[in-house]
Symmetry: C2
Subunit: 546 residues, 2 copies
């Protein structure tokens, strides 16, 4: 080959950190504390404090490749670790505070965390698993609550960095070196660590700033509702810094009222979170239309699990708010696909456009998508054939930390997502299920997500989860778990009537179970294993026979 | 180090080519031929034809690293070579049709071009240097004119690709392999070859699509007025394909009337070209306000040399057209900096904002900038101190093809641009001169560009070039070459009076020379060596003494 003659300039997060100071020093970072007070800072201050932190960590003995764990809500000090640790050559490891302490202990041990940075408000949780973690040398406590509850062995974050110099001599790093470790919170098996590189995170950030993806820009005020312990808050802290955006961190207050108050008061333009968050927000907006001035909001990114079309349409139709529906996983850094209405379809009827916006979209630049059958054969993009989604690209995991999960990677270099999808001829993909939740009735696949979306468009239904119940004749049949909206009622017959025109008869749920709430994973996804555990014998008990 | 565990997915142009077909097959590519007819095609068709071309080139013996030269205007077949050659592992080499045939011969020999693809309309030019080029094995003629003027040794492009298969098995390439060679058309010394890699071109394209840079998007109709033989038409063909934008190619018709007709008829949203082009267009718009409907135009990118503020302001004030002023060089792929008004400055007065928009801007993500004194010391960002601009980044050249020009690269990894600039505390840089054109009067530097901008804001002045004339006492003094607008007059005294309030007295030109046109380089820049050759002794002849 003839080699290009361009500089071997590494794609590392250090560039974003320095760029933020150089060009955007005045831009603001706002953090909401547990007591709801707002702390206002700037990129210049953030840069200084990040330099101090790196000097302090260095003094504590943190070196290249060492893991610095965080057990924190979304706020500026968390961001300082997000940039400071990777830029000094260490690796930030975000611990998911919604996990069981035993899981957290397992994960911190598995990652061999050397330092843990923990919010004072989360110390009680940390202490439940601290003893299990053998590798930790230092515990640094972020004083997000007043008072001093730390032990003498713990270090106060502010006291630690105060005496340090602002400037740190950031080393030149290999772009393929690790920047962050994030564990998947799978519902089966042990959690598995995904190791993002500087390169993957940088490329992910650049693509997130493209006009046709999320389009993060300096003029944005970004509100990452999605926690920084979930797949790097979808990379938003990094793309915001790359663009110089104003950032507003919600802290621990993720209830609809608190979020709406913050969005309105801080004139947020871009917010991002999982469907559960937005379902709650839509419900509150519907109850108090016009109460909050959300005119600055240009986009609300929804991902993490499939959002029902009624949610996307509801925001637009009733509140003129635009949703950007995206798909990704911890293993994809996480942005994989994004539901943008293509230019050639912008003249279509509203239903077609909603169909695009409510799909999981098509792959963003440098992600490639395909779906395959149970035999591994690549399937046609006909909008009907269901198969497991596989993706590849420079920000897709090639393996997990340690030896786990090798069966998730194909021999020809694709990652098996575990999501079952259809892909239409335009490339729009639609999740029909998680592969482990697929309902197989008499050999035919039935999409639980399609049924759930249809059920959630019923005015009385808050949430619907469709799952496989055992059946003596058909092996499995769909059963629907329903949560009704407060004060609303609906019968099985009404729900069945509401959806029967949309599906083949054999797709319709055999029965409905009304619940106060649907069990969820720590990331807010429906926990269908639990539903099957609770109600898997429902049809057998009814004596079903056909 | 701890390595990331992400896929080693190469950043190659092949991804863009395949993505364009996969998601944007219906999108249009329009090419204007020499006879002004418009040829309409689609990305799907473009992809098919590019596959055919690769099969044909492969059959002709073109292998990895081989150079495929083009001598072509901007049109779709040129684009086919732009993508097809790199994606098959060969290297596209764009020959600048404005150069002297001897220079072209030198360049084609130096690059060791194996195949030359040439427009039939440019065959007469090609034949002037064809004999000098020893490496060429095949000449492929693009039939952009009717008739058949090729010799039996030459191959017709359409006949060549017609029998080939649509699909080519694109190889997996190293992202650091060469994709394109482009020669700088320096005014001194031999032309030097810059070798873009796939990686550099891909990263440049992603950054060009960022919301806060050029923001190339699918909804754009992109008109690259800048020739594809100038620094890859600023990468626009690649970023347009990355985004799936509609593309309109102007062919050889680059006069203001033809361009305005095309912009209005094809509803262009984004056009890009050098200041000379836009000066002509502004003049014609001023003569016929409202004649063309340019309401679809969202941005006109101006680069290649410094655009006068009066041009940028004129478009906005008189025609409500937005200019994006950018800086780059062949050696920077080429986008280096871009003049965006930062959010924190958007509330400033109009003069401040125009000062930002008319500057060369600040570095785009992953480009780093500094300026240095004659001793190599890094200078302060005070908006006043002049020094040579140096840049670095993953799409900045690290060396030239062959051994030439090693003195342009610093030991600590920066490229010396040869542009003399100031940088203000916000990071906005302003070109004051080319280093070789700097006017040094009694040891003090005088900015010719600042004087030119001031002179061009006079209503009678079409163009002004300020250059160094020899002076017995001060060594050099500024002399202004002036081209007046048709039918307008201005005296030396009037011009001097127009600018004297804006500069220190010793900056003002000692004299004015009125000319019919200012000599230019092949890329449209003022050729100040020629001005010095013609008028360098002007003051000596006048008997100047102080």
């Amino acid at each position: 080959m003839l080699a290009g003659r361009m500089m071997d300039f590494p794609l590392t997060l250090t560039h974003f950190l320095e760029r933020a100071r150089t060009f955007f020093g005045r831009n603001e970072i706002v953090s909401r504390l547990p007591d709801k007070t707002l702390v206002r800072s700037t990129y210049a201050d953030f840069h200084r404090r990040t330099g101090k932190l790196a000097n302090a960590l260095s003094r504590l003995g943190v070196g290249q490749g060492d893991r610095v764990a965080t057990l924190s809500w979304n706020h500026q000090r968390h961001l300082e670790v997000y940039l400071g640790a990777p830029a000094m050559g260490a690796v930030v490891h975000t611990l998911n505070l919604r996990l069981h302490p035993n899981e957290l202990g397992y994960i911190a041990n598995h990652a061999e965390d050397k330092v843990v940075v923990v919010d004072r408000s989360l110390l009680p949780l940390f202490r439940k698993f601290a003893d299990q973690v053998r590798s930790v040398r230092h515990v640094i406590v972020i004083p997000d609550l007043p008072g001093d509850t730390k032990t003498s062995a713990e270090i106060d974050y502010e006291e630690l960095i105060a005496p340090e110099k602002d400037e740190f001599a950031w080393p030149t790093l290999d772009e393929r070196s690790a920047a962050m470790i994030c564990y998947t919170s799978g519902t089966t098996g042990n959690p598995k660590g995904v190791v993002y590189s500087h390169r993957s995170t940088v490329l992910h950030s650049l693509v997130s700033c493209m006009a046709d993806t999320i389009g993060v820009r300096e003029g944005d005020t970004v509100l990452p509702v999605v926690p920084m312990f979930h797949a790097a808050a979808w990379g938003l802290p990094y793309s915001a810094i790359a663009a110089g955006s104003r950032i507003v961190f919600p802290g621990p207050h993720l209830d609809p009222q608190s979020l709406l108050d913050l969005m309105a008061a801080e004139k947020v333009t871009l917010a991002a979170g999982v469907p559960t968050i937005w379902l709650g927000i839509l419900q509150l907006l519907d109850q108090h239309p016009g109460k909050w001035d959300l005119s600055t909001v240009r986009s609300m990114v929804i991902g993490g699990s499939a959002a029902p079309p009624s949610l996307i349409d509801g925001f637009k139709a009733r509140h003129d708010l635009d949703v950007t529906h995206a798909w990704g996983m911890t293993e994809t850094n996480p942005l994989g696909t994004l539901a943008r209405v293509k230019n050639g379809l912008s003249g279509s009827d509203d239903a077609t456009k909603l169909g695009c916006k409510a799909s999981q979209g098509y792959a963003v630049p440098f992600v490639e998508q395909r779906h395959v059958g149970e035999d591994g054969a690549v399937l046609p993009w006909d909008g009907e054939t269901m198969g497991e989604l596989e993706v590849r690209g420079p920000w897709v995991a090639s393996s997990y930390f340690g030896a786990e999960g090798a069966d998730r990677f194909t021999e020809d270099g694709w990652f098996k997502t575990g999501d079952v999808v259809t892909i239409d001829h335009e490339g729009y993909l639609r999740i029909t299920d998680r592969s482990k939740d697929v309902i197989k009735s008499g050999g035919e696949w039935i999409s639980s997500v399609a049924l759930e979306n249809a059920l959630m468009s019923h005015p009385a239904v808050l949430e619907a989860a469709v799952f496989a119940a055992r059946h003596p004749k058909w092996t499995e049949r769909p059963l629907a778990a329903i949560v009704l909206k407060e004060g609303k009622t609906a019968t099985k017959e009404e729900l069945s009537a509401h959806i029967e025109a949309k599906f083949a008869k054999f797709w319709l749920p055999d029965d409905y179970v009304f619940m106060a709430q649907i069990p969820r994973t720590s990331t807010g996804k429906f926990l269908k294993t639990k539903l099957r555990e609770l109600h898997g014998d429902h049809l057998e008990k009814q004596g079903a026979s056909d």
